[in-house]
Point group: C2
Chain length 332, copies 2
């Protein structure tokens, strides 16, 4: 038996501020932005792209950070590791995470690159196409881990995007080892189709031996197992992971563990504005449910409610209390 | 006859980035924030208030800047003067204004206070309660005026908020003089009820001799003339100004000139989220209409359409092309 955990969920990821703007489809073509995915860009490209970017609004982002903010909003005890710079956007990022109720520990970077920003172009189909300048977040590494916090978290949740930087990848592996040694659970989100293509072997290795809880969308799980069959992918992930939750956009999601498979419908949304953070908030709801030992169907329902809130407006942080939307207080 | 103007509208105001968060009513009481108005705060109070502020999003703001961004969005040729600092939020402000299509000239401040920010708490009644730290914007003064641009603008539009700082007030008066000497029109928005209380005599002096076009809401115009009768206020403003547009929230607006009074209904809005910028965008629509020589009723209609867009989401900058919403292209 492990001791009770001080945190329900610890998140580790790239600490990013989103710069979000609605655009026409032609904008993506004109500026060579890949539709509906995440592309890493350098500082010069970020600067040139911002110069031609439409009027935007800034909200804190970062995949795992969005999930942690969502978990905290739902009422979970949460913490986060990720690298910001000692600048205004870094202050914004830290404020928004702490104000959501999460503990945020990582020391800001001084005299280095600026806080990461992600230029998000939202097309009329509500898809988000992301161009990410990692800046300070790329300097996250093993020395930023606080082993005591990891040992004190029931679930350590990490984003696949961390594998895009060697130091962050090393931190990921080390954090997973600490969590496993402490008898805690590890969780991974595959993050993005192209991220899976870049790191398939490493992700398969993790999924097959080191990760208890896996999050992915349909494209990502098909890419991971290099199959065109969703059923085939589900069989494989079920053999590999203790628990998995696979999202399928408007078709809802599938949650699986060794002896149960549950299909959950998506929550109806009147007007889908911006899908940024849909997967992150779905994961938040599921992780919250798991932390409370709720049935799979209920975990999926809370995830769907959180995702529905986030896609009904611009930005990946909740504008309405998620506990109320999910009617958690009514359940006691 | 004056020469044709290079700019339809030049705006002058406090260059501010908004930090917007939904709050419960109790938040205003707990932190002594005055409901539905603008309060100036110092840096220390801004820092303490931000510490307790909920997760927020940042969008460029500033009353006259919102109006100019709206005018530009509608298709007018616009320019703006206002003081930002040489920092990240300043860069954001400049980007958003230029990306909207406005020319923005003012030199950023170096080695001084940070770019102004306005902490906006939006209550469930959709009213915005603003706590403004003026920072760099308070150092705007006569030396920031470019007389050539003023002479080249058909209308110079200024916010009453400028009267809260002596240097900005001096710049206001000087800009008005330059515009009048060049045979151009001057416009003023009364900005805020408490702003009128602070500067009633100065505003009356302006309205009675130096301002061609006046914008105000019902509370502000009643406060200006110290009357409880809306009809009385309308008679007085009609005697004082060549043109006035008075907004009454959901009751619509009244537009007046010497030989015409027109009442315009508010555009229906399905769900009012955040009234930040409602007056600013109404002014944008009216100024656009005036710049095109449209009838008063049409000016008011475009203003109402722009205001309706802005109150349907958080933030005071348009998320949907206003020309399309106002069906301007269909009119040729």
């Amino acid at each position: 038996m492990t001791t009770p955990a001080r945190y329900d969920v610890l998140g580790i990821g790239n600490a990013i501020v989103d710069v979000i703007a609605p655009v026409e489809d032609a904008f993506l073509d004109a500026h060579r932005i890949t539709h509906a995915s995440m592309t890493l860009i350098d500082e010069e490209r970020a600067s040139r792209l911002y110069d031609v970017f439409p009027p935007a609004s800034e909200t804190s982002g970062g995949s795992a950070a969005n999930t942690i903010a969502g978990c905290a909003n739902l009422g979970a005890k949460t913490a986060y590791f990720g690298k910001i710079a000692d600048d205004e956007l870094g202050e914004t990022f830290a404020h928004d995470l702490r104000a959501a109720g999460a503990s945020f520990f990582t020391r800001p970077l001084k005299n280095g690159p600026k806080t990461a920003r992600c230029l998000i172009a939202v097309t009329p189909d509500a898809q988000r196409s992301m161009s990410t300048y990692l800046g300070a977040s790329s300097l996250f590494g093993p020395s930023d881990l606080d082993a005591e916090v990891i040992r004190d978290a029931a679930i350590t949740y990490m984003e696949g995007y961390l594998f895009d930087q060697d130091d962050a990848k090393a931190a990921f592996v080390q954090a997973a080892e600490i969590a496993v040694s402490a008898g805690r659970q590890t969780a991974l989100t595959l993050s993005d189709l192209f991220c899976v293509e870049r790191h398939r072997d490493a992700f398969l290795h993790l999924v097959r031996g080191h990760i208890d809880i896996l999050f992915a969308n349909e494209d990502e799980i098909l890419a991971l197992y290099e199959t065109a069959s969703f059923d085939d992918a589900l069989s494989q992930v079920r053999a590999d992971c203790r628990f998995a939750a696979i999202t399928r956009g408007a078709k809802g999601s599938v949650l699986l563990c060794k002896d149960e498979v549950v299909t959950v419908a998506a929550e109806p949304v009147e007007h889908v504005v911006d899908t940024t953070g849909a997967g992150d908030l779905y994961a938040a709801g599921v992780l919250y449910g798991l932390s409370r030992g709720l049935p799979l169907a209920e975990c999926g329902r809370i995830g769907s409610v959180a995702a529905a809130e986030i896609i009904s407006h611009y930005g990946a942080r909740a504008q309405t209390p998620l506990r109320d939307l999910a009617e958690l207080d009514a359940q006691g």
